[in-house]
Symmetry: C2
Subunit: 383 residues, 2 copies
Amino acid sequence: MRLPSVAVPLSGERFRVTYSLTAANEAEARQRAVEISFEQTVEFPADLTPEGDILEKIVGHIEEVTQKENAAGWRVVISYTIESAGDETTQFMNVVFGNTSIQKGVRVESFELPPAMAAKRGPRFGRSGLRELLHAPSRPMLCTALKPMGYGAKELARLAGDFARGGIDLIKDDHGLANQSFSTFKERAKACAEAVHEANAITGYHSLYMPHISAPAEQVLERALLAKELGAGALLVCPGLIGWDTMRMLADDDRLNLPIMSHPALIGSFTASADAGISHYTLYGLMPRLFGADASIFPSWGGRFSFSKEECASIVAGSGAPFAEMKSIFPTPGGGMTMDRVAEMQAVYGRDVIFLMGGGLHRHSPDIVANSARFREIVEAMK
Amino acid sequence: MRLPSVAVPLSGERFRVTYSLTAANEAEARQRAVEISFEQTVEFPADLTPEGDILEKIVGHIEEVTQKENAAGWRVVISYTIESAGDETTQFMNVVFGNTSIQKGVRVESFELPPAMAAKRGPRFGRSGLRELLHAPSRPMLCTALKPMGYGAKELARLAGDFARGGIDLIKDDHGLANQSFSTFKERAKACAEAVHEANAITGYHSLYMPHISAPAEQVLERALLAKELGAGALLVCPGLIGWDTMRMLADDDRLNLPIMSHPALIGSFTASADAGISHYTLYGLMPRLFGADASIFPSWGGRFSFSKEECASIVAGSGAPFAEMKSIFPTPGGGMTMDRVAEMQAVYGRDVIFLMGGGLHRHSPDIVANSARFREIVEAMK
């Protein structure tokens, strides 16, 4: 039996989610859109849902159903009351894709927030803030990773110092470094931060050490605060490991006040299927912004992973497109970059990019300082 | 240039991960396995990786590469030093699938922990503990959800009381209820907990109210503690929204000491592709156990979602298989269950199951107490 109706106080403001759907024809696409509009809100059979505000306003509105031009499938836009998201980013994602993530043949392409939701902070630094910290007003920036797993604080700090003396801007822990017995977080962060500060004192550069602070839930904030105390200049976070909103919490914490780079560990499966999951644009562009990252790592085309050039370009778009007054962030392509690919990559990524080179910095010569300086020279020479 | 080697103190204990791979032949399958063994550990080119302990022990060991019998693809088992996971479940998942989640054609099928890792608590209650709380030594248990979104505390509490009077064991918030203006967490949890306690006083049943406590990162624990204070008997958690390890933190907190049910919101994409992501067995069976849930919701075959009967059976297996001394948990099939499907479902799920029926409990008659009692009667009559 249909449940009794109630009046629900609502502002009338709505956010919009664009989905791609597989469907044999327009009628089926519309039917699937209606199913999503119920699934993501009342999660109740239409014939039982209370009439009035709940059926008319809480249930998502189908704003658009159009066949895609150069691709199979349908583009569907559904809007939801901002009140359904309860002013929480966790619940916002729940409305966007919670249960529907389990359905086949539906993908989140993007979302748009109305002015009433624009008060979300998003990235604390963004492109301009990070450029200011790094004294790099216009060039692409350089990032590398401390590895391999198994090295102790001493070996990693030596590498950190070498990278910094060569002029690498952001020297991050590899995301596989956590708090292992062979390299505890505290020892490593202290030694690496010191090594980078010492190098800066010699070179006059402004390199930042960026430890990886993904940790058990009750220790994440503690580890981030410790990192700051030990001299870290930024934080590396894997939202797939600690939760997206835990990253947002770190970005919002005034005691930290540090730039955040997000790393894709364990979220890759969201783009594993072309007609399910979340688009590259949103997963590596909009979502890191919504959840407070200032830079978003993803695997570039042409490396060890299989993103296409078009997918990478869409991430660049998502990291910079107008999005509820949130700052733009830096796309940070990595995953097998080498020195001889800088030019080819810059043609796609432009200047608002952080180039992440890991293993590639160890080739060419045994002198890591010289290799790093060469990387910087190549990038600085770019127009 | 190859980096200098170091001695790494290691116990020799290793955990094992079973992957499915796509590959044209055995040579390619072995090559891909080797790539994973480096990607998930040192993330460094093989020819640059330090020799000795790092190359020989930290890099994953290929334990098995076999062609699958009745399916396309290859079964690959890789073992990793337990030290690489640093005694943190976040880092454990990072080693299992961090970067490899971004690769195409590779899926996590399962993992095995050695005795040295068996100290992980996992579920606090498990099947036996939950049966004890619910005074249900052997029958399948019943669960329903308070909805729809848009209802206030008063309407939801009335429903909660009706369900409890009819004998539903676990009365949970719908996962779409968070802390919205039309139903704030505190008002709702208080009213619903009271309604369920009042009903129990009349019926003599032991129904539990289970509020949804997914919340912004800095509020999750607070919301869970408030729930307990207000009389909640269990907690509903979406690990896809708040992070898997945040659920583990709640399970480990002695102040809470409440059973946890995990909900699949936003994790569905991990099973969207048959040859990528994480298997149903692991995503809905092993992982909820590792991260402290006592019951795991998933969409049953035959409802609104598209899991097959075999996939559902594999979840049952993962929720009960021997797993590092962790307790078994309850598979909790839902997603469109109706009264007339109980028998068919029990044939697959057996008695160690929680049946989750939402909208279906509102059909047949306008009397929700009677509908709930009918559901209980059907289940109790099962042999």
